[in-house]
């Protein structure tokens, strides 16, 4: 049997205790930072408009810090990568095979041209097909003595692995036309690490060509059999921990009469392994991981609070004068999934 007098006494004791120890009430008030309030018909304090505004300001602040760090400490922030030329060649030819196009053969002159293009971009700090001084991709190819009928260029930066690079080129119509272009017989790659705009970066340059003379075709086609695969870095390239990714494509270009003729056969250079580099960029802080972590931390934190709000409000029958909590929660879950699974660091232009 319920004893009203006993219950009243207990409540009275609790009230007396709270009056004597006001701090103990404040301790309980803390839960309302995380749980909705029935008396005020509102969400948790950490979900009110002011709190959301503070989260927005904090996210902007962290982004600004990430922008300024490279100016004071170049190379600390960057894009971690593990890109190999052999994988780039493998995935490129895989895409060509899937589209019924003959595979490309690795050509040393095109690889040398690609490497010089990448180094030129680092040296002059540009990110484009055409250099600030007007040098075009074809100039690098011709300088290496590669006499071509057709030539093309794809660039990539900020990618973490070879498959993503090729996948990104394939998803872009202009780059795809180069990647599976039937007018090309040969390809050259460069994977070069360096610091651009303060960020440690990896640039990937892919140059395509069809030699004017069929006898110029490289005879080494099986990348697995090439020595030097997976060596630390390309000869003459300083290893670095920044990974940039840029992709550029150019239309097929017919060579002019004054282009120099190229030497025949480059198996010896390929055998040296200098064009089968891999890039292992390991910056002190991987900017991709850092930005994703910050966004996911805020996203998950707010999502958990919203989930608590939904569960607790339902349990206690709290009705609030606010927007739709479930809708907010659904949208945030989409944000988290997108950032976690879909977003890739690389850029193609």
């Amino acid at each position: 049997m319920f004893d009203h007098n006993k219950s009243r006494d207990e409540n009275s004791n609790v009230i007396k205790y709270w009056r004597k120890h006001p701090k103990s009430i404040e301790k309980y008030q803390f839960v309302y930072h995380f749980l909705p309030r029935e008396d005020k018909k509102k969400r948790a304090d950490l979900l009110d408009n002011k709190a959301i505004l503070i989260y927005c300001v904090l996210i902007v602040f962290v982004s600004v810090v990430f922008r300024f760090v490279p100016k004071f400490a170049p190379g600390v922030l960057g894009y971690a990568s593990n890109i190999t030329i052999s994988d780039l060649l493998k995935y490129t030819n895989q895409k060509r095979k899937e589209n019924g196009v003959p595979p490309l053969k690795l050509n040393a002159e095109l690889s040398a041209a690609a490497e010089k293009k990448a180094q030129d971009m680092f040296k002059d700090g540009y990110w484009a097909h055409v250099a600030p001084d007007g040098t075009e991709p074809w100039d690098f190819i011709l300088d290496e003595g590669y006499d071509y009928i057709y030539a093309g260029e794809n660039l990539a930066k900020n990618f973490s692995n070879s498959k993503e690079v090729v996948e990104a080129w394939f998803k872009s119509p202009s780059h795809k036309s180069n990647l599976i272009g039937a007018n090309y017989d040969e390809v050259g790659f460069a994977v070069v690490n360096g610091v651009m705009d303060g960020y440690e970066t990896t640039l990937v340059v892919q140059m395509f060509g069809r030699p004017r003379q069929p006898s110029m075709l490289a005879t080494v086609g099986d990348e697995k059999g090439l020595p030097g695969e997976n060596k630390a870095s390309a000869e003459g390239i300083e290893p670095a921990s920044e990974s940039l990714g840029e992709s550029v494509s150019s239309p097929e270009q017919e060579n002019s009469q004054e282009t120099p003729s190229s030497e025949v056969g480059k198996e010896e250079e390929l055998a040296e392994g200098s064009y089968l580099a891999q890039s292992n960029a390991n910056p002190a802080i991987d900017i991709t991981t850092a930005t994703k972590t910050v966004s996911l931390a805020f996203g998950i934190f707010v999502s958990v609070l919203l989930a608590l709000d939904i569960i607790y409000s339902r349990k206690k029958g709290i009705r609030k004068f606010t927007g739709l909590t479930l809708a907010h929660f659904m949208v945030l879950v989409v944000v988290i999934i997108s950032i976690w699974l879909v977003f890739k660091p690389g850029l193609v232009i």
Binding site: S63, I310, F321, L324, I339
Partner: protein, 86 residues
């Protein structure tokens, strides 16, 4: 929660369709950062409009609720943008 969904089933259906469309588009353009930033902006703005229209129809629109949707839309955009801008 179920009452909430039943009560607003048309609005939630529209929101689910919009979310599904958004997911398909961001997967399709996952290597195109410019497009992803554009989609993030459009998605966030659409959510604000969706929320405001929903509360307007129900006659429950207040200044605080408008601020709430604007701030929440801004938060969603910034979460995307802070990743995509690097």
């Amino acid at each position: 929660m179920m009452e909430n969904i039943k009560e607003n089933r048309v609005e939630y259906f529209i929101l689910l369709v919009a979310i599904a469309t958004f997911m398909v588009l961001i997967y399709k353009f996952r290597f195109n950062k410019g497009m992803l930033i554009f989609l993030s902006g459009v998605g966030s703005a659409s959510y604000i409009v969706w929320g405001v229209i929903h509360h307007l129809i129900r006659g429950k629109l207040t200044k605080n609720i408008v601020y709430e949707y604007v701030l929440f839309g801004l938060l969603v955009f910034l979460l995307f943008f802070s990743v995509l801008s690097f």
